[in-house]
């Protein structure tokens, strides 16, 4: 292919989440990123212009781009997580755009679960608010590896450096209490585009990168755990055809680490070991596979392995923990409150078990980040630490070291609804 597009084939994928309410200029910022990277097409632009006119606005309201459902447009609010896409020659981006109101904590958690980067917007006039703390806490709870604090509306504070510095210091005080490793700060004006894609002419004092430069260059290669090979078996491939009478492959997605042909793997829960005979994908044979590839693995020995089992590499790093009693940080998603002593279905990797809630240890007050030990009633949007007992042992890593192998969801068996997201402590 000619030079221009062949480069596109080598883009990395970066997922980020944006937290903030309408007033922070979040939708304007997303509109700006999409517009400046030419991801908005003419017919979409015309539709927004028409809608802006109808709403009586003077300026084209880029925020309208992100209101997908009729109820959202009518009420002028965002109800659900919306996914947006744009690309630059370096990276393809997936934005999980989540509403920031307190009652939508569950949407923020959902958007954060797969993100590499969280963008948190702070209004330069208002500084660090309770809401900023909440967003930062959720980003740290969900272990988003990188946080970018965008101090927005710098145009409304005369682009003053000391305002930016104050906000930076205030947030650093919060970050030191949370386990966030990588925090960056950028002073921007989303409305005018200052330091979003192009460097601002109004803030000579800021020598750091623009937001787009950060998004394109933040190192995400180490975001995935590269040490501990974990492969939850998703599906057993058995063609039983004339051409492949004895083929028995274990299909799944590498959750973390790396596997090579010839490596010795252990099967959980049985504990048997065998060597990797081949790593297949559609007739292609790989010598090696790393996260997050989907492949099919065959082994030298015939071992009874089924969906829900896990292949792990022996002899490097930590083996997974095996236990029926687990402690979990949960975010509750349902109007029906958590029942202590109640039974739920639990999904973990490709396995499903039942569990019982033994106790609620504490709730986290999401506004001041203090632990509450007195009021232990867990309802919609609450975050709590609970203890569970499962009917069968789980093999897992803590969420801190492995986001895929350390995460669970709880399902109400009467309604089939997903009632909680959990991070294993």
């Amino acid at each position: 292919m000619s030079g221009k597009n062949s480069g596109y084939l080598d883009m990395e994928l970066l997922r980020f989440t944006t937290a903030g309410s309408v007033d922070d200029g979040k939708s304007t910022l997303i509109g700006r990123l999409l517009y400046d990277s030419k991801a908005i097409f003419e017919d979409q632009m015309e539709a927004i212009e028409r809608a802006s006119e109808r709403a009586g606005g003077e300026q084209v309201n880029l925020a309208l781009l992100t209101d997908g459902l009729r109820a959202e447009r009518e009420q002028g609010i965002t109800i659900d997580v919306a996914y947006r896409y744009f690309a630059t020659p370096k990276r393809k981006f997936i934005i999980a755009d989540t509403p920031g109101h307190i009652q939508y904590t569950r949407n923020m958690v959902t958007g954060a679960s797969t993100a590499n980067v969280a963008i948190i917007l702070v209004d330069a006039r208002l500084g660090v608010l309770e809401q900023t703390r909440r967003h930062a806490y959720i980003a740290s709870l969900l272990k988003i590896p990188h946080i970018i604090i965008c101090v927005n509306k710098m145009d409304l504070v005369q682009y003053k450096e000391d305002i930016f510095e104050t906000i930076k210091n205030d947030f650093e005080a919060i970050a030191s209490k949370l386990s966030v490793k990588d925090v960056r700060y950028v002073p921007i004006s989303a409305l005018d585009g200052d330091n979003v894609v192009d460097r601002s002419k109004n803030m000579d004092w800021y020598q750091g990168p623009t937001l787009m430069y950060l998004l394109e260059n933040i190192h995400i290669g180490s975001d995935i755990n590269r040490d501990d090979f974990r492969f939850p078996v998703q599906y057993v491939v058995r063609p039983q055809s004339r051409e492949w009478p004895d083929y028995r492959g274990y299909a799944g997605r590498v959750a973390s680490g790396v596997v090579n042909v010839g490596d010795t793997l252990m099967v959980l829960p049985s504990g048997f070991s065998s060597k990797v005979k081949s790593i297949d994908l559609f007739g292609e044979q790989y010598q090696q596979a790393c996260a997050p590839l989907s492949v099919t693995i065959t082994l030298d020995d015939d071992i009874d392995i089924s969906r829900g089992d896990m292949l792990v590499k022996v002899g490097n790093g930590q083996p997974p923990r095996v236990d029926q009693n687990i402690d979990v940080m949960i975010c509750w998603f349902n109007e029906k409150k958590l029942v202590i002593g109640g039974k739920y279905a639990l999904k973990h990797t490709t396995s499903e078990v039942k569990c019982m809630v033994k106790e609620v240890q504490y709730k986290v007050n999401i506004s001041d980040l203090e632990k509450e030990h007195n009021n232990l009633e867990v309802g919609m949007n609450d975050i709590a630490r609970i203890s569970l007992r499962t009917t069968k042992p789980l093999f897992f890593d803590s969420y801190n070291v492995n986001r895929t192998i350390g995460s669970i969801i709880l399902i109400d068996e009467a309604t089939n609804e997903t009632v909680a997201a959990g991070m294993i402590v």
Binding site: L13, T66, Y83, A87, T114, Q234, Y235, A251, C290
Partner: protein, 301 residues
């Protein structure tokens, strides 16, 4: 890129294969919807990859409006023969004959909306509990809020305000009797990703996607193909020009693009330079601002 870095197309592929395998594992009787358009062709290609060297463990289902381009039907039949997959066909004409739906009349008559009934009837008849579709979130704003696993009630309806939260790679496909799921394995792909992947994987496409001479006419700024069932107004004059399809639906609502692109590379260049969305040419979306949302709620693809 460092040693373990994989490119965006391989990562999207891995995600979609994971979703397709989850469907095969979690449901008893899944089906994959197939339209003969590029998105469903890519989705089927991913299914072939997911289960190789075994055959795809579910059938395909084509909802045939009776207004398809012949090239689409020929391509479908060739593909099934080549891969040994099974494709069921449900005819909108049958739904009309049975009185389940009423044919639209007038100049802009289309069977697009009628497909929903045919689809829901086919799902009920075969007792399918999951139907995979090639919908992408970047296509349309109502789709931007769609889940990978989208729950449908016993009437096949979507309730956008009451969707199940979807976190990490944990997909909840539990349901009651009579309910089903719509699953969208390529949710996170953009139009450009689809074309780049077709290029990378050397996937064969129907000839409609490449430039060809066709008799067309213009209506409301959209170029449409002529066909025996297309009623032309007096001022609409057919002419033969070089066009290609950017998306393929049925003839009544597929806007054609003036184009001389005859390779995938040409198409990628064209998409990269394009200033209107691919659905900009779809008459079915022009009906109102919430046209897609309304159709989706009723059980559309």
């Amino acid at each position: 890129m460092d040693k373990y870095q994989i490119n965006h197309l391989k990562e999207l592929e891995a995600e979609s294969i994971f979703v397709i395998r989850e469907v095969a594992a979690q449901f008893e009787k899944p089906v994959m919807l197939f339209s003969g358009g590029k998105d469903s062709i890519v989705m089927f290609h991913l299914a072939l990859k997911a289960f190789w060297p075994a055959k795809v463990p579910f059938p395909l289902l084509h909802i045939d409006t009776g207004h398809n381009f012949q090239e689409t039907l020929d391509y479908r039949d060739r593909l099934m023969e080549k891969t040994g997959a099974k494709c069921l066909v449900a005819l909108v004409q049958d739904s009309i004959d049975k009185g389940r739906v009423k044919e639209e009349t007038g100049y802009n008559a289309s069977r697009n909306k009628l497909q929903t009934v045919t689809l829901l009837d086919a799902i009920e008849e075969h007792k399918f509990d999951a139907a995979m579709g090639g919908g992408r979130r970047d296509e349309e704003k109502a789709r931007a809020k769609e889940r990978f696993f989208s729950h449908r009630d016993e009437f096949g309806q979507w309730d956008p305000k009451n969707q199940r939260p979807e976190l990490w790679n944990l997909f909840n496909g539990r349901k009651n009797m009579g309910e089903h799921f719509r699953v969208f394995p390529i949710s996170n792909w953009t139009e450009m990703d689809v074309w780049q992947y077709i290029y990378m994987e050397k996937i064969e496409l129907p000839s409609l996607y490449f430039t060809h001479k066709r008799e067309v006419f213009e209506r409301d700024g959209v170029i449409l193909a002529t066909a025996p069932f297309m009623k032309l107004r007096d001022d609409e004059k057919p002419k033969v020009i070089d066009v290609r399809c950017r998306t393929i639906g049925d003839i009544t609502c597929t806007g054609l693009t003036l184009s001389s692109a005859n390779t995938i590379e040409d198409i990628i260049q064209e998409v990269a330079a394009s200033r209107v969305t691919e659905r900009g040419g779809r008459a079915d979306d022009k009906r109102s601002e919430a046209a897609m949302e309304d159709r989706k709620k009723e059980g559309y693809f």
